[in-house]
Amino acid sequence: MIRFLTKRILMSIMILFFVMFIVYVIMYSLPSSYVETTARQLAKAPGAQKSAAEWIEDLNARYGMDKGIFLGYFTWLKNAVQGNFGDSWFWTVSCTQKFNDVIWYSFALAFVAFVLEIIIAVPLGVIAAKKQYSGIDYSVTVIALIGMSLPTFFVATLLKMIFSVQLGWLDISGIQGRYYLQLSDWGKFVDLLKHFIMPALTLVIISIGPLMRYTRTNTLEVLNADYIRTARAKGLPEKRVISHHAFRNTLIPLVTILGASLPGLFGGALITETLFAIPGIGFTSFHAMINGDIPFTMFYLAFSSVLVLAGNLMADILYAVVDPRVRVN
C-alpha cells in the first residue's frame, strides 16, 4: 500500500512538473501587455528615474522573464518550492498573503454548497433508484439533467433578478451588507451567511445533477446484487433492506467520489465567485488573470493543479480504505 502510494505521489509530482511547465510556456509566450503597461505607468509616475524601456527590463529581470523559457521556469520552480510565489502585480501584495486572505471565503462557500448538495442529492438518488421508472425517478433524472445543462451565469442572473431586484431580500453581490460595520458579531455572521445564500444556491443547482445520477446508478447496482436478494428472501422489511444492506454498500463509491472532491473545496468557484463578487480565490484569480497578473495566475494554476492531483490521490486512498476488497489486491 505504501509502495503504491509513494508511486502515485511521485507520479503526481511529475505530472505537476509538466503541467506547470505547459502553463509557464503559455504565460511566457503571451506578449504580456501588463509588464509594458506597468512599466509605462512607473515611467510616468512623478519623480520617475527610468524610462519605460528601462522599467520593462527591470521588471522582466525581477520576474525572471528574461532568462529564456527553461531557465525562467526553473527559477520560478525553485522559488515556488520554497513557497515564494512573488508579489501579485494586480493585488499588490504577495501571492501567498493574498491567498491566506481569501481562501477561507472560498472554502466556506464551497463547503456550504457541498453539504447542501449531499443532503439533497443522496436521498433523492436513493429514492429514485428504489422506485425505478416511477414518476419520482423520472423527475430526478430530468432535474439532474436540467441542472447539468444550466449555465452558471444564467442561474446566477435569474437568482439575482428574483431575490435581489424583484424581492429585494438579498444584496446583489459582495460579501458585506451596507451596515456591516455597525452590526454586532452575531449580526455580522448572519450578514455573511445572507451573502452566501445565492452563490451557494447557484453552486448547488448546477452541480447537484451528477451526484444525484451517480447515487441512483450505484444504488440500482447494489439493489440488483445477490446479497440484497438474500436479505429480501430472508424476510427483512424493505426499509431495513434499503437502509442497512443497500445504502451502506452504496456508500462505498459515494464516499470515494465525495472524498475525492474534498480538495476541490479549496479551489474556489471561479465563475460563481466572480458573478457574485465573493472575494474568494476564484474571484481574486479571475481579476488577476484578466489583468495579466502573471505571478498570481501562476500561483493559482499551480494551486488548482495540486488540488486536482490531490483529489485523484484521495480517491485512490479512499477506495482502498472504504473497500477492503481493493486492499487485498
Binding site: L150, P151, L158, S305
Partner: protein
C-alpha cells in the same frame, strides 16, 4: 461428382428465387422452422429502435432539430441580419430654437476704405455704455495711434462711428509775451513798454474772460499761465506752421480774423480754432464720414430662409432715424416705423424687419419664419411681464409623418400642425423646445410585429441575433467536439494499440492535460485577445482550437480503454492472422467498435462546450461584438439591475435557448447510451 463454382452459384440463385417467389405467392404458408419467421434487425436498426422508444431522447432530438432549423435555415428566410442597425422616427423633445434680447452691439461696415484702429473697435461697447449712462449725443474718441473719431448716437440702439471729423491743418505758435497781470496783487508786469489803452483793454478782457483783445491796432491773446496770473501774447509775432500743404496766402489773416469766433472760412472751407498750451490748433472741420454703424438691431428676413444683403444693412440703420429712405444699386428702399418695430421695404414690399429680439434656430441659422418670431416674442414678453421663467405657446409647425418626411398637401405646400412650444429661460437665453419627429437608432424597442423580441442597445434585431447566436454556439460546439474526437481517437488509438512505452508516454500526457484547468486558460487567452485587439472571427477560431486541444484527454482515455479490451477479442486475432497493417487494424477494426461510446461522449460533450462558450462570452472573454452569441446577448442586458427586470423578456428567452440546447444534447446523449448498451441502463 464435383460441380464447378459457377454451377454452384447458379443453383443457389435458383433456389433463392424460388423461395422469394414462394414468399410473394398468396398461398405461401410459413413453416415453424422457417428462418424468416424471426425478424432479425441489423445492429444499427436495433439501436435506432431502442433510441426511439425513449421519450426523453425523442424530446431532445426534436428540440435539436428545431434549434438547427432556427439557427441555420430560418436566418436565410429572415429579412434581418445580425448586424443590421434599425432606425426609427420618434417624436422627441428637441431644442427647436433659442431667443434672446440682444445686449451686445454688432458692427456694420459703411466705408470699407477706412480702417478703424482696433483700440477703438475694442472699446466700442464701453464707449456706448458710457454714452447711454451719461446721455451724451456725441463722444469724441481717439485711438492709441492718434486717430480721432466721433461716436454719434443716431437714435435708440444705433450708433455711428465717424472719422475725419477734425484733421489738424496748421499750428499757430511762437507768440511773444508782452505783459502779464496778477489779479491777486493787482499789478502788471510789462515785458515790453505798452500804453494806457493796452492796460485798460487787458484788464477788461481778463474781467470779461475774453480770449483776446485789441489795443493800438494790435491783437493780443489772453492766456492764463498760473493761478491768478494772465499774460497777453502779441498775435502778430506768432508763426503759422503747416504739417501738410500751405493752403495759400491770406490764410493767416483769415485765421486772425476768426480767432474771436473760434472759426473762420478760407477758400470756402471752414476751419476750427482751438487753443492749447503751445498755441492754436487749426483743424479742418469738413464732412464727417461714417465708417461703422453699431446697433443692437438684427435683420430678420420676411421670407423665411432668404438671406439679407449685407450692404444695405448699414444704410438702413443710418437712415432709420432720419427720413428712412436710401438707395442701393438702383433700388429705392425705405425704413418704416410700425407698431411692432421697424420694417425695411423695397419699394412697397417688406424685406426685413428690425428688432433687438433675436430668434434663431438652435443651430444658429436664421431659417425661422417671421410669424414664428413674432409669436415667440409675444409669448416671451408676456412671460417676462408676469415674471415667469417659462412660456408655453402653440404655433403651426410643418407637419411630418412617422417616417420623418414633411407632409405636403395637393398643391405641394407644406402642411402645418399646431405644435406646443415651450420656452424656458436659461442663462440669459430663452430655449424653445418642442416635440418633433426625429430619425434615431431604434434601441431597446419593445416587441412589435417587425421585431418580435424588440431590438437591443445597438439597434439590432434580437430575434435575428438569437438565430445567429445559435449558429455560433452550435458551430463552436461541433467544431470543438470534432477536434477533440480527432485528437483523442488518434492519441488513444495509438496508445491502446501499441501499449508499452508509447502507451505510457501518451497516458502521462493525458494525465497532464487532465490536470490543466480549462477555464483559467481560456480566461487568460480571452484577456490576451482583448489586449491585442484581435478581430471577432480570429478569436472565435482561436478559442475553438484551444478548447479542442484542452479537451482531447478524456476522449483519448476512453478510446484507449476500449481498445485495450477489444484487442484481446477473437475478431482481432482473426484480423491479425490476415496480416493487415497496423493502421488498418486500428482504424478499420478497432475504432469502429469504439464508435458507440465515442458518439455518446461527444454528444454529452457538445452541451458542456456550449455552456463553456456562452460563459466565456458572458464574461466578455469569448466571442465578441458584433458577432452575436447567446452569452454576450445576456451580458449586454444584465449589466444593470434596472435592465434585469425591464428586459427580462430578452435575456430569459436567450438563456432558455442555451439551456434547451444543452438539455437536448444531454437527453440525446443519454438516450444514445441506453440504446447502444442496454445493459448500462438500470
Amino acid at each position: 461428382m464435383t460441380k464447378n463454382f459457377n454451377e454452384v452459384l447458379r443453383a443457389m440463385e435458383e433456389k433463392e428465387r424460388r423461395v422469394k417467389d414462394a414468399e410473394t405467392a398468396e398461398d405461401y404458408v410459413m413453416e415453424l422452422s422457417d428462418t424468416q419467421r424471426i425478424k432479425v434487425l441489423s445492429p444499427g436498426r436495433l439501436v435506432a429502435k431502442r433510441f426511439f422508444r425513449n421519450k426523453l431522447a425523442i424530446l431532445g432530438s426534436v428540440i435539436l432539430i428545431i434549434m438547427f432549423i432556427f439557427s441555420f435555415f430560418i436566418p436565410l428566410l429572415y429579412p434581418y441580419g445580425q448586424t443590421e442597425i434599425f432606425y426609427k422616427y420618434d417624436s422627441l423633445v428637441v431644442n427647436y430654437a433659442q431667443a434672446n434680447e440682444r445686449t451686445d452691439y454688432q458692427s456694420y461696415v459703411v466705408d470699407e476704405n477706412i480702417d478703424v484702429h482696433f483700440t477703438i473697435r475694442n472699446r466700442m461697447t464701453s464707449y456706448i455704455t458710457e454714452m447711454e449712462t451719461t446721455g451724451l449725443k456725441d463722444l469724441p474718441v481717439s485711438g492709441s495711434d492718434g486717430s480721432s473719431y466721433i461716436i454719434r448716437k443716431l437714435g435708440e440702439s444705433v450708433y455711428s462711428l465717424d472719422s475725419g471729423a477734425e484733421i489738424e491743418v496748421a499750428h499757430f505758435s511762437g507768440m511773444t509775451e508782452v505783459s502779464s497781470y496778477n489779479t491777486r496783487i493787482k499789478a502788471f508786469l510789462h515785458v515790453s513798454p505798452v500804453g494806457e489803452e493796452f492796460e485798460a483793454s487787458f484788464l477788461s478782457a481778463i474781467e470779461s474772460n475774453a480770449e483776446s483783445f485789441e489795443a493800438d491796432g494790435e491783437k493780443y491773446n489772453v492766456v492764463s499761465v498760473a493761478k491768478n496770473a494772465y499774460s497777453a501774447l502779441q498775435l502778430s509775432t506768432g508763426k503759422m506752421i503747416f504739417p501738410g500743404t500751405d493752403p495759400g496766402s491770406g490764410f493767416t489773416d483769415a485765421f486772425l480774423e476768426g480767432i474771436e469766433t473760434n472759426s473762420f472760412e478760407y477758400n470756402d472751407i471752414s476751419y476750427k480754432i482751438s487753443y492749447d498750451e503751445d498755441g492754436y490748433r487749426i483743424t479742418f472741420s469738413g464732412e464727417a464720414s461714417t465708417v461703422l454703424v453699431f446697433s443692437l438691431f438684427v435683420f430678420d428676413a420676411f421670407e423665411s430662409g432668404s438671406s439679407i444683403r449685407e450692404d444695405y444693412k448699414p444704410l438702413a440703420l443710418l437712415s432709420m432715424y432720419t427720413d428712412g429712405e436710401f438707395e442701393l444699386d438702383g433700388d429705392s428702399f425705405s425704413v418704416e416705423k410700425r407698431d411692432d418695430g421697424y420694417v425695411v421695404l423695397r419699394g412697397e414690399s417688406p424685406v426685413a424687419s428690425l428688432s433687438t429680439f433675436v430668434v434663431r434656430r438652435y443651430t444658429g441659422g436664421d431659417t425661422l419664419s417671421m410669424d414664428f418670431k413674432k409669436a415667440t416674442e409675444k409669448a416671451i414678453l408676456e412671460a417676462e411681464e408676469s415674471g415667469q421663467k417659462t412660456a408655453v405657446f402653440s404655433f403651426p409647425l410643418p407637419r411630418m409623418d412617422m417616417d420623418g418626411n414633411f407632409l405636403v398637401d395637393e398643391k405641394g405646400e407644406l402642411t402645418a400642425v399646431d405644435t406646443e412650444i415651450t420656452a424656458t429661460f436659461k442663462v440669459g437665453t430663452w430655449e424653445l423646445t418642442c416635440e418633433q419627429i426625429t430619425h434615431l437608432i431604434d434601441i431597446y424597442a419593445p416587441p412589435s410585429r417587425e421585431h418580435i423580441f424588440g431590438t437591443d442597445a445597438d439597434g439590432f434585431d434580437i430575434l435575428a441575433r438569437m438565430m445567429y447566436g445559435g449558429r455560433v454556439s452550435l458551430m463552436v460546439g461541433f467544431v470543438v467536439v470534432i477536434l477533440e474526437v480527432i485528437l483523442g481517437v488518434i492519441m488513444g488509438g495509438i496508445a491502446g494499440y501499441f501499449a508499452g512505452w508509447v502507451d505510457t508516454v501518451i497516458m502521462r500526457l493525458v494525465d497532464v492535460f487532465y490536470c490543466i484547468p480549462t477555464y483559467p486558460i481560456l480566461i487568460i487567452l480571452g484577456a490576451f485577445f482583448d489586449g491585442v485587439k484581435m478581430g471577432s472571427y480570429m478569436r472565435l477560431i482561436w478559442m475553438m482550437v484551444v478548447m479542442g486541444i484542452l479537451g482531447w484527454a478524456p476522449v483519448a482515455r476512453l478510446v484507449r480503454g476500449q481498445i485495450l479490451s477489444l484487442r484481446e477479442q477473437e475478431f482481432m486475432t482473426a484480423a491479425e492472422s490476415t496480416g493487415i497493417s497496423s493502421r488498418r487494424k486500428i482504424f478499420r477494426h478497432l475504432i469502429p467498435n469504439v464508435m458507440p461510446q465515442l458518439i455518446v461522449s461527444a454528444t454529452m460533450g457538445l452541451g458542456s462546450v456550449i455552456i463553456m462558450e456562452s460563459t466565456l462570452s458572458f464574461l466578455g472573454l469569448g466571442v465578441k461584438h458584433p458577432l452575436a452569441t447567446w452569452g454576450t446577448m445576456i451580458n449586454s442586458i444584465t449589466s444593470s439591475n434596472e435592465n434585469l427586470i425591464r428586459y427580462a423578456y430578452i435575456w430569459i428567452p436567450v438563456g432558455l435557448l442555451i439551456c434547451l440546447t444543452v438539455i437536448a444534447f444531454n437527453f440525446v446523449g443519454d438516450g444514445l447510451r441506453d440504446a447502444f448498451d442496454p445493459k448500462m441502463k438500470q
